[in-house]
């Protein structure tokens, strides 16, 4: 099913989006007076090799056209598909290929933005929404790594204890707010306020140093990841010093 509400909120000035095979969508739209490419996953589809390879194919075709058109990803996936067959075929390669294609598009000068309007979890989340330069959460977005019940099973902690802990420490809690705190989500939009199209065109206009992954800095500022940015920076400094040490020794 096409996310018509979302599409009309983002692209009131027209689009040619249509549903494709394997619960994908694709087409072009207008935003802020320019053409954008739009790709998506619908129906909370668990991400398997078929869906991933179709989307990656679209992305690579857009990159090949060499016109630097922005790409907007509308994401409603689930976790990666969990079957023996998919793993046997190398699901990790398919998901990584999709991630690489999206990141390559960014490197090649395409502004990449994901709009999460449904669920996304674990490897599917990494391969899609988290591979774009900017991620937006709208109504219905529910990103997660794993649901609390599964975390409870793995950590062997009672669910209610875990739920209680999650309130105090959002570092493992599912949902938009905890993930926004880590820097994953840039902005949270409401479809009903009628401002989404405007916000999108503003984002598209701002393409300064978009290939600098600064989500850890964002996470530090928001208090959801207090150590990551600092540790990474310390390592970067020490890396240069370690090379000096080598020469000295």
């Amino acid at each position: 099913m096409m996310p018509d509400n979302l599409i009309s909120a983002l692209f009131p000035h027209g689009h040619t989006l249509s549903a494709g095979a394997e619960n994908t969508l694709s087409g072009q739209a207008r935003s802020g007076g320019r053409d954008v490419e739009v790709l998506g996953i619908t129906n909370s589809t668990p991400l398997g090799p078929e869906t991933a390879i179709i989307l990656a194919g679209h992305v690579l075709k857009i990159v090949k056209s060499d016109n630097k058109t922005p790409i907007i990803f509308l994401i409603d996936t689930a976790s990666q598909r969990m079957t023996r067959r998919d793993e046997m075929l190398g699901l990790n390669e398919y998901l990584a290929h999709l991630a690489k294609s999206i990141i390559l598009a960014g490197m090649a000068g395409h502004r990449t933005i994901s709009v999460l309007y449904g669920t996304a979890a674990a490897g599917a989340f990494i391969a899609t929404a988290l591979s774009t330069q900017t991620m937006i959460a709208v109504d219905g977005a529910h990103p997660s790594v794993m649901d609390l019940a599964s975390i409870a099973r793995v950590t062997k902690l009672p669910l209610d204890v875990l739920t209680e802990k999650a309130k105090k420490t959002p570092v493992f809690a599912p949902g938009v707010e905890p993930l926004a705190a880590t820097g994953a989500v840039s902005e949270i939009w409401k479809l009903s306020d009628g401002l989404c199209a405007e916000r999108l065109s503003r984002l598209l206009a701002d393409n300064q140093s978009m290939n600098n992954d600064n989500r850890d800095v964002l996470g530090a500022g928001r208090g959801g990841r207090t150590m990551a940015a600092d540790v990474a920076q310390r390592v970067e400094k020490a890396f240069v010093q370690a090379s000096d040490l080598k020469k000295a020794g």
């Binding site: 090799p49 390879i53 990656a56 194919g57 690579l60 990159v63 976790s79 990666q80 969990m82 023996r84 793993e87 046997m88 075929l89 190398g90 699901l91 990790n92 390669e93 998901l95 990584a96 991630a99 690489k100 294609s101 990141i103 390559l104 490197m107 674990a122 490897g123 989340f125 990494i126 988290l130 591979s131 997660s144 790594v145 950590t155 902690l157 802990k165 105090k168 420490t169 959002p170 493992f172 993930l179 880590t182 994953a184 992954d213 989500r215 959801g224 990841r225 150590m227 990551a228 940015a229 600092d230 540790v231 990474a232 920076q233 390592v235 970067e236 890396f239 370690a242 090379s243 080598k246």
Partner: protein, 309 residues
């Protein structure tokens, strides 16, 4: 008389992350960054009453292989399953960013080696771990974009699961041993979610047929296959040079073609021997039972090469 093929060098599978680094690099050349004495540890494990590790299970630094400067990162699979977490992830991300930033400077390295041994994201700090995986992938691609190959070495107890499977497939080149496993969802996870009929995680021969080193290298999920001793990993690491594929549109288009073909050719198979039948291998049901030497001969004969990655 102990057979030579048993009484071998220290095994990669059994060794600690630190022992792997020692064995991989030129003797005494490892310079650790944020080592144990810096006490940079996970702030989150105390909430779960779990003991931290001085290095958070991620050992990073610089060193030499055959005199060439390299960057190296190793996950300790025995600590929290080698998981990606806030600190362990940030150490890796910082290292990769430093490599990308210093490419072309006197501080540059020729290659990055990732000794992955991971169950994926550390669930006790799931969001930070998920972000660490994503940031690692971005940083690996930046390193590759800067012209420095990133090589994954897979052969530890924990394998390369979850986000670790994605990270592996983002590298320029993958070296794997028989014991190595690469997958996204682990067999136990699939069994828990989909039932034992879908994936019997206790049938370990099946687990290895689906995720193990031999199947991965035959199917194209890994590039080099080595025996399980540290010395063999080092030998394979020595010969990696800058002809690893750059990250480019052409590379990804070739990968697109390779993965589309795989799906089309083998998409109806349910176990790897069915794939080997279609692929025309001579002992489709007996791949796992070949000796290491016979399997390596088979690879040479088949000329399996998957350089589009």
């Amino acid at each position: 008389m102990i057979p030579e093929n048993v009484m071998n060098q220290p095994s990669w599978y059994e060794s600690s992350a630190r022992a792997r680094i020692e064995g991989l690099l030129d003797a005494g050349s490892f310079k650790e960054i944020l080592g144990p004495q810096d006490h940079v540890m996970s702030p989150h494990l105390a909430l779960f009453d779990l003991p931290p590790a001085f290095d958070d299970g991620m050992i990073i630094g610089r060193g030499l292989i055959d005199g060439r400067p390299v960057a190296i990162a190793a996950q300790e699979g025995q600590f929290m399953g080698g998981t990606f977490a806030e600190v362990s992830g940030a150490k890796l991300v910082g290292l990769l960013r430093a490599v990308a930033r210093n490419a072309g400077t006197p501080q540059e390295v020729s290659t990055v080696f990732l000794l992955l041994d991971t169950g994926g994201v550390r669930l006790q700090e799931a969001n930070a771990g998920e972000m660490a995986v994503s940031e690692t992938i971005h940083a690996i691609l930046d390193v590759r974009h800067a012209g420095v190959p990133v090589v994954a070495l897979i052969g530890g107890r924990a394998g390369a699961f979850g986000g670790g499977g994605l990270v592996t497939a983002c590298c320029s080149h993958i070296i794997i041993s028989e014991q190595g496993r690469i997958s996204v969802s682990g067999p136990e996870v699939i069994e828990t979610n989909k039932g034992v009929e879908e994936f019997d995680s206790r049938d370990r021969a099946l687990v290895w047929r689906v995720t193990g080193g031999r199947s991965r290298v035959l199917l194209g999920g890994a590039d080099s296959y080595v025996k399980g001793d540290i010395g063999s990993f080092r030998k394979a690491a020595e010969v990696i040079n800058n002809n690893a594929p750059p990250l480019s549109l052409e590379t990804l288009e070739r990968e697109q073609g390779r993965l589309e073909h795989r799906l089309k050719a083998y998409g109806n198979c349910h176990d790897t021997p069915e794939i080997w039948v279609i692929a025309g291998l001579s002992t489709p049901a007996g791949i796992a039972d070949l000796t290491e030497d016979d399997f390596i001969d088979l690879l040479v004969k088949e000329g399996v090469r998957h350089d589009a990655r």
